[in-house]
Subunit: 276 residues, 2 copies
Amino acid sequence: MIAGPVEQIFLGDDRIDHLPGYARGFAYGDGVFETMRVHRGTLPWWGVHFTRLANGLARLRIPVPDVGAMERALAELFADGADGAAKLIVSRGGIGRGYAPDVDALPLWRVSRHEIPPLPRPDGLVLRWCDTRLALQPALAGLKHCNRLEHVVARGEWSDPGIDEGLLRSIDGFVVCGTSANLFVLHGDRWATPRVDRCGIAGTCRAWLLSETGAAETRIDPAELETADAILLCNAVRGILPVARLEARAWAPHPAVADLRRRLARAHPAFDQEMA
Amino acid sequence: MIAGPVEQIFLGDDRIDHLPGYARGFAYGDGVFETMRVHRGTLPWWGVHFTRLANGLARLRIPVPDVGAMERALAELFADGADGAAKLIVSRGGIGRGYAPDVDALPLWRVSRHEIPPLPRPDGLVLRWCDTRLALQPALAGLKHCNRLEHVVARGEWSDPGIDEGLLRSIDGFVVCGTSANLFVLHGDRWATPRVDRCGIAGTCRAWLLSETGAAETRIDPAELETADAILLCNAVRGILPVARLEARAWAPHPAVADLRRRLARAHPAFDQEMA
């Protein structure tokens, strides 16, 4: 049971009751978003989420909402001190029809509160390859922007509850990510993760893992997953997710993954709670 | 002055007061749209717009709203018999967070009414090249979907009112379209237009011109615009737009463009009115 409002919507600093019909987020997906793990009403990684959000907004030339207003709105949603996930969408304001952006328009933004359903297989995900390929678009790559039809179409490829996630390749055949997670690949004692310079999202848990493991940011061929000693998925809501199987390839639990999960648990109290 | 409501919003067949905050159109741009010329309260090309809309929704597996409900909503917006433009957005319904599409969810859709501002240079547009390139994504190419950040970013490249439109190239360097128009190129008596199988939108006025001119759908190199005898832009709201200049290249008015404008005027009463 969630007590209190499950969303708040703002235009600039002003709370408003509804999304306006002319919202450019609705017309064009003209915005960026963050999905964040909430631990006892707090956002342990708010700083890195805010930094990424601000960078994304700067690249799209959308003004950044007042940081205090965002923090207050998120805190109010979780004033009961619960665990969960928070989503923050910041979209471009302006009332006009047509693509021309008003780079001075007050941003239209929304915070919402969500439950985290239990993972069906916490000890290791079952993955498939998606047929949908990610287009190469350096101008938008890395951003957690709201143009997500590729991910929607990819996630729509399967409804089998026995499959937990799908891996996406780029148009030119390299592995990029899961539909809602980044990917890390282990060979020996060397971690690697796909570059996000042409497609894909620069995830916050990915950033933590990069600094923690010194992983190489490279192009990864699908064949390199077959030969990997372990692979894992990660995102800011779920943390590190071990992978048990990708199509016919199976992996036993790997101590390096377990070690990273323990280190993440020390860095983020929500994941510590899960390890307990 | 617009009499009456300027928008109506529906969930399935039911009129609703506001966009819900959880709208997937707002979160992911998960929908398609049509922008249509209205002539004396009617939509002369409704049939082709509806067909394209239904095809786009089928490709994204979004249920098609009741055609009668859409027609009634559009007619109500223009019950005063005015001229203008109508916009119809049909987005995927469903309340869940996460990319997984509910392919059975009732669609969330909106119609809105807009004025058509006069063209600054009706005798010939002034164009620029955009730096923003269009990614190659065959799975979404041709669709008038709501993931339009590329067009927003491209249209944001200039604010000089002396520039009317920007031409977009694909990532691999071929000419595709204007930010809100399709492109046709004349060499001798042969028209050509960029294919929209990898990026770009299959416009309704483009379809009319294809059938009227027998234009070739090809890959077009930017250098072919330099050598062209004429180029034109087109869309469903503006009809056929002659081009006077692209960067340093200038064109005199061409009789073949004028002829096509006359033929379009006979096919669509709004453009007949403009020619009068």
